[in-house]
Amino acid sequence: MNSAISVRHLTKDFRIGIRGLKLRAVDDLSLEIPRGQVYGLLGPNGCGKSTTLKVVLGLVSATAGEISILGEPSATSAARRRTGFLPEAPYFHKFLTGRELVRYCAQLSGVAASDLDAAVEDALGLAAMKEAAGRPIGTYSKGMLQRIGFAQAVVHDPELIILDEPTAGVDPVGSASIGRMIHAMRDKGKTVVLCSHLLGQVEQVCDRVAIMDRGKLVLEGAVEDVLSRRDRHVMTIEAMTPAARSAAEAALEAHGAKITSVTHPRRSLEDLFRELVTGSRDA
């Protein structure tokens, strides 16, 4: 089975100013993004993540390299029909209501007239945007903008969903709900590609990651493989006394193992925040 996205030796130069200075935004990047997984493209600001996605979608032309989406050459409308895209810092026609926007996008994506109403309501429900769908987009908060953007990206039931910074500027509760939407998509067998510089969130959401720096790929692999240190182990113990500890140490030493550190487990500030704050007003 072919990959969801296959990028081979992609290079993209931007010409800057009238003197035509070249800026290399993506430098000989090769990626194979498998189907049915959540794939994270990570890296600092300006490392070329958005540019890569734009080239993949045919919005920007490649200087060199080959790209295919779902087995079809990119930039064909056949490939785009099966793809949904949420751009970075989305900003939609603010004179439309949320529902009008999702409907408009469904029509442009080729949803049949008979399925239109159901598709729009499904997408709005999935993005938890039903309540606010009748309001003009100009009145939406940042989290709502991202969610309506998610709805318009999935309304035509695409196989591949590309999200550029879906959680940028969104609070942890909103991010968590976007994370759940992404997992819901994966559970339906879709491929989700997202890019972000918020590593903590990516770690919780993605199955596989690629890390870019200055347009180049520096690391690629499954999150489990990339992050876990298989030569180290962590135990969480309750009601430990000094006696129990020295007994445990002795027992481990008898087998040649050694305790290198003992700490109290800490929850992240993000977990604490999510525990205390149940939902923002627009959730």
Partner: protein, 277 residues
């Protein structure tokens, strides 16, 4: 083909919606309407042809001028609001081709100007009709032949003006496809409209033989690249019957307008295809 037409239609629908929900459109419409209506109070009382002509000149002048402003500024604004706000990114990531997007913008803007021209011409018709009745009554008392205006001519003029504005929109879209900024587009678009109004002068000059081949080439290019926008201004002839307009001439003007429209839209689409969004 059918899908393509549909997508174009949806883009133009939303474009139309965006334009009429803006204050700029309402502002210019009210301003031009006020101009047409105010011509009633400016009476010359020469009981003749001059009075209706004055009203017509005033009203059609407003329609012509504000229509041009609306066509240039609004078209550029509708295009760059999509580019600058990155909404074009969302739309063009869908199975929508660049020509479909541009054509959608064109038909949306053209529809808005259709509403503009229709509203103003209707007002103008009412004003002319009311004055005509007064003049007929006055002429009967004085035993003179009354002057009248032609409703059919007014309808023909509406079509011609609408076509002229269509050509302007197509030019502005072609410039937008190439330009980086809104301001540049408005400035160059306005210059193109002025050049189009004056183009017949170059055309006249071209009819005279010249010695310099460079000058001849310049004239040849400028007379073909820039459409003759002056040819659509047949207000006096059509509405007041100041001179006869041949059927053939009217059709020729329409055909040349449509040809320019198609040419500029094709050019714009070709340029827009290369653009990085």
């Amino acid at each position: 083909m059918k899908d393509s037409l549909r997508r174009t239609l949806w883009i133009s629908r939303v474009t139309f919606l965006e334009a009429v929900r803006q204050r700029f459109f309402a502002f210019l419409l009210v301003l031009s309407a006020a101009m047409v209506l105010s011509s009633v109070s400016l009476r010359v009382f020469d009981f003749g042809h001059g009075e209706l002509k004055f009203i017509a000149d005033f009203g059609f002048g407003g329609m012509f001028f504000f229509g041009s402003v609306l066509a240039v500024v609004m078209t550029a604004q509708l295009f760059f609001s999509e580019i600058d706000n990155k909404t074009a990114l969302t739309l063009l990531a869908k199975p929508l081709s660049r020509p479909e997007f541009l054509l959608g913008k064109f038909f949306g803007a053209w529809a808005v100007l259709g509403v503009f021209v229709l509203v103003l011409a209707s007002l103008q018709g009412v004003v002319l009709w009311a004055r005509e009745q007064e003049l007929i009554a006055a002429a009967e008392q004085a035993g003179r032949i009354p002057t009248t205006f032609s409703i059919v001519g007014l309808c023909q003029l509406v079509l011609l003006q609408w076509l002229r504005l269509g050509v302007v929109i197509a030019i502005v879209l072609a410039i937008s496809a190439l330009a980086r900024t809104f301001l540049f587009t408005v400035v160059v678009g306005s210059l193109a409209v002025v050049a189009g109004q004056l183009q017949w002068i170059a055309q006249d000059a071209f009819l005279r033989p010249t010695d310099s081949p460079a000058y001849a080439a310049f004239l040849w290019i400028s007379t073909r690249l820039i459409p003759n926008l002056q040819q659509f201004n047949l207000a006096d002839a059509l509405v007041l019957g100041s001179s006869a307009v041949e059927e053939g001439a009217l059709i020729a003007v329409c055909l040349s307008g449509l040809a320019y429209l198609a040419a500029y839209l094709t050019l714009g689409s070709l340029i827009f295809r290369q653009r990085e969004i």
